[in-house]
């Protein structure tokens, strides 16, 4: 089928005249004998509006499980919990990658296809638009009366006068005069904006990919008075991108001088503030405050405050009275009132080892059954409640052990496991003369360091998206044509025909058109009203 060649030239020109977009045309059938026909059709199909639409819907649909189910990248604990609670469906859902939606093969397939379609669609559209930008507005359609807005009148003015007036009235439009006709067009920026928007989508993807491959994210828990340096080994948890190289880590170190949190009377957090001093490698030390919404930025590596908790200061003495431990113990908060759990291990003693399991409560309340709780996250009435164990901690130099877990399988509880509530300054005396002193309370903070080399590009792309969208949605692309017929030698009046077409908002264009016509026709002789 070669529909196009059967179309007479002027019909094709008319089609061209009313086409105000670079939108791909619906896909037709392959030409006979075209070996690459099916391929070509397949490609055209992939880059068609219909496919783009379908893929957009698929993308939205594929994101839905990610919006309802816990996701491993954000909250691995809740994923495990969910799987444990759904022993049959859970593992199956896991195999379908429903807990890793946004890194799943099916999600990737959809967005990659969408972007292939986008690239394939953008190339011809950009070429078409470039052509439109550099060429003249199309010829006047044969039948102006068929255009959505049109008018026709007679005047005693000469042909040139009318055309001159029209050119003047069409200031701001791109105007071309062909003999007794004028073609004018306005609003090219609409299509430009649309292309900029779609192009920015691709740039955004590149920016995201750059961050994912070359970026770096790590967290570290720091007690007051301690610090860390931006090196792989000093972090507790590191998530490097697939193509990350340690040499791109910005060298600096941070020291936490003090952490302070303030709370409202209802216990809601008001402010968090980590007072630090930091220094680039070999540079001078500076002081700063790292707060929520206020990270420390060192050469593109940003340090964020992401968590905090209490760290009771304890001193442990052995049976001889010698201090064997003097440290801040990082206790992990378990609820919004900062009831926190603590573990203390004394592995470096000669003979029996000590272990302590504790609960720290910043504002302590004791219920009728003797259970301690916390009623406020701030430090109003701190108590460290500890139970002691003696025996073998099971520490094996070969296998690292979590500092937050105490394995008591080879230990015996002291006092039958009875917990002792200590106020600051109080001492827990163990059998044989050893002791644990709760000195006072300090705090810890967790910091996250991120380096994202794609961030700048993503921001630029985002600006392109919004700018492109505004042009594309607020600018109206429209055409206007004027055809003037001379009255002949016998003094018959000149006939003027004007018609126009807009791609969007035909009502607004009708008003604009009417205003233009009113400027042009003050000297009209009579009105020829069209049906």
């Amino acid at each position: 089928m070669t529909v196009r060649s059967e179309v007479p030239g002027d019909v094709k020109a008319d089609e061209e005249a009313v086409r105000l977009t670079t939108q791909p045309k619906p896909v037709g059938l392959p030409r006979k004998g075209d070996l690459f026909g099916p391929l070509r059709i397949g490609w055209r199909q992939l880059t068609s509006m219909r496919t783009a639409l379908l893929l957009l819907f698929l993308l939205a649909l594929a994101s839905v499980p990610g919006g309802f189910l816990p996701q491993r990248r954000i909250n691995p604990l809740r994923v495990n919990q969910y799987i444990a609670q759904h022993p049959t469906a859970g593992p199956l859902m896991d195999r379908l990658r429903l807990f890793d939606v946004f890194s799943s093969p099916w999600f990737s397939a959809i967005y990659l296809l969408l972007f292939v379609s986008l690239v394939g669609c953008l190339i011809p559209r950009s070429r078409l638009h470039l052509k439109a930008l550099t060429s003249k507005p199309p010829k006047v359609p044969r039948s102006i009366a068929k255009l959505p807005v049109n008018d026709r009148w007679e005047t005693t003015d000469g042909v040139d006068d009318v055309l001159q007036q029209a050119s003047t009235a069409l200031r701001g439009w791109r105007v071309v005069r062909r003999e007794h006709e004028i073609s004018a067009e306005k609003g090219y920026l609409r299509e430009t904006g649309n292309l900029v928007f779609h192009l920015s989508l691709i740039l955004l993807l590149v920016g995201i990919a750059l961050g994912a491959f070359r970026g770096f994210k790590a967290t570290v828990l720091v007690k007051e008075g301690k610090g860390f340096s931006n090196t792989i080994i000093s972090f507790d948890d590191v998530q490097p991108g697939r193509r990350f190289s340690a040499s791109s880590l910005v060298p600096f170190s941070v020291h936490l001088d003090a952490f302070r949190a303030t709370y409202g009377p209802d216990g809601k957090a008001l402010t968090f503030d980590a007072a630090v001093h930091w220094a680039p490698l070999g540079g001078a030390e500076k002081t700063d405050d790292i707060r929520v919404n206020h990270p420390l930025d060192v050469g593109g590596a940003k340090t964020y405050l992401i968590g905090h908790g209490y760290a009771p200061h304890i001193i442990v003495k052995d049976t001889t009275g010698a201090v064997i431990d003097d440290q801040l113990v990082a206790c992990l908060p378990q609820n919004a009132q900062f009831l926190s759990t603590c573990v203390i291990k004394e592995a470096n003693t000669t003979g029996t080892q000590f272990g302590f399991r504790g609960v720290f409560t910043p504002t302590t309340v004791t219920d009728s059954t003797g259970h301690v709780g916390s009623s406020y996250p701030g430090l109003r009435n701190p108590v460290l409640t500890v139970a002691a164990f003696v025996g073998d901690l099971g520490v094996d130099p070969g296998t690292p052990q979590s500092v937050y877990n105490l394995d008591t399988s080879a230990m015996t509880p002291v006092d039958g496991g009875q917990a002792h509530a200590l106020l600051p300054g109080q001492v827990f005396h163990l059998p044989g003369g050893a002791s644990l002193t709760y000195v006072d309370t300090k705090q810890w903070a967790t910091f996250q360091v991120t380096q994202d080399p794609g961030k700048g590009l993503a921001l630029v792309a985002s600006i392109g998206m919004v700018g492109g969208l505004m042009l594309s949605l607020f600018i109206r692309r429209r055409r206007l044509w004027v055809r003037v017929r001379a009255g002949g030698t016998d003094g018959a009046p000149t006939t003027v025909e004007v018609g126009g077409l807009a791609r969007t908002d035909p009502e607004r264009y009708a008003l604009e058109f009417a205003a233009l016509v009113r400027q042009l026709r003050p000297k009209a002789l009579s009105t020829v009203v069209e049906e």
Binding site: A60, P70, V529
Partner: protein, 323 residues
């Protein structure tokens, strides 16, 4: 005045707003009831009249010219009431802001109120500009009243300070843009539903069937093409604003949480909403998808937006659960 009594005054004014809006709704409905009797009188909408005035050019007007009935006192009163309710609404939000010493959109209660304010503002602007008949008022005010009623009962939160993560100047930008887009999107969702209703009504008439309630309400509505266009214009305005809101949110998240995007449930639903609206704009440019199918996409997108605000905030655990 103390902050507390200021906040209470603001809350009281919001309730007053709901009452005034409800009265306005009755006014619109009253106009429609009286309109039935006078259906015969039709003329071309004022802004189009220039086009057909004596000696003016002949313009093939879009077939779906809006018809305006002889002005009814009830209808004009309803618009005046809406405008008055709007002023009370604005005052209520401003007082909230003063009571809490911050922008008045820090929790879901305030947020919902602001979203409804945007929808009403947009509706008033459309009516004032003559882009839509005020007859639409009854159908717009009903969901607004229900929404505000629900917000001030179920989601009520007394005026208070913000949690630290929300305490940034980006909240003003990000949330203001999100509110502006959301109010517009919800309005467009209502109009898209009305478009579907009107289309069904037209189809039944064409098939010579008698429309029953609720399809029979279609008779009270503007024509389907007008509704379609209004829904589109509102979305065309809101989509770049929503895009900007998401980007501003990314900038804020970058400074608060150390990443600009993390597929947090709220981010995920904003993304779904965004993609669905992009789908709507595409659908309107795709052969075979214009009209009813596109309208369903707009309704689905508004649904995703509601999930984003209410289902996610209340039922799904994430960083954004601040209400």
């Amino acid at each position: 005045m103390t902050d507390q009594s200021l906040g209470q005054l603001g809350d009281g004014l919001l309730l007053a707003t709901v009452v005034v809006y409800a009265l306005a709704m009755l006014g619109y409905a009253g106009e429609q009831a009286s309109r039935k009797a006078r259906r015969a009188v039709t003329s071309v909408r004022a802004s189009s009249q220039v086009l057909v005035g004596a000696g003016g050019p002949s313009v093939t007007l879009p077939a779906e010219t809006v018809t305006v009935e002889t002005p009814s006192r009830s209808g004009r009163f309803a618009v005046a009431l809406t405008a008055f309710g709007w002023a009370v609404h604005v005052t209520s939000l401003v007082l909230r802001g003063f009571a809490a010493h911050r922008v008045p959109w820090g929790n879901m209660y305030e947020f919902s109120s602001a979203v409804a304010l945007v929808a009403v503002t947009f509706f008033l602007v459309l009516v004032a500009r003559g882009r839509v008949e005020r007859a639409l008022g009854a159908f717009v005010m009903l969901p607004v009243v229900l929404y505000l009623g629900l917000a001030s009962s179920v989601l009520y939160t007394a005026a208070g300070p913000l949690v630290p993560a929300l305490n940034s100047y980006w909240i003003k930008i990000h949330v203001a843009a999100a509110i502006m887009a959301s109010g517009s999107f919800l309005l467009s969702g209502v109009v898209a539903l009305l478009y579907l209703l009107r289309s069904r009504y037209d189809a039944q008439l064409t098939a010579r069937r008698t429309p029953h309630f609720p399809v029979s309400l279609g008779a009270q509505l503007p024509t389907a093409p007008v509704l379609d266009r209004v829904s589109y214009s509102v979305i065309a305005f809101a989509f770049p604003v929503w895009t900007f809101a998401i980007i501003a949110g990314g900038i804020w998240a970058e400074s608060a949480w150390g990443r600009y995007w993390g597929w947090d449930p709220k981010e995920t639903w904003s993304f779904i909403t965004w993609v669905l609206y992009a789908g709507y704009l595409h659908a309107r440019a795709t052969a075979g998808w214009k009209g009813k199918k596109a309208a369903w996409v707009a309704v689905a997108a508004a649904g995703a937006l509601i999930v984003d605000y209410y289902v996610v905030n209340i039922f799904v655990v994430g960083l954004h659960s601040y209400a």
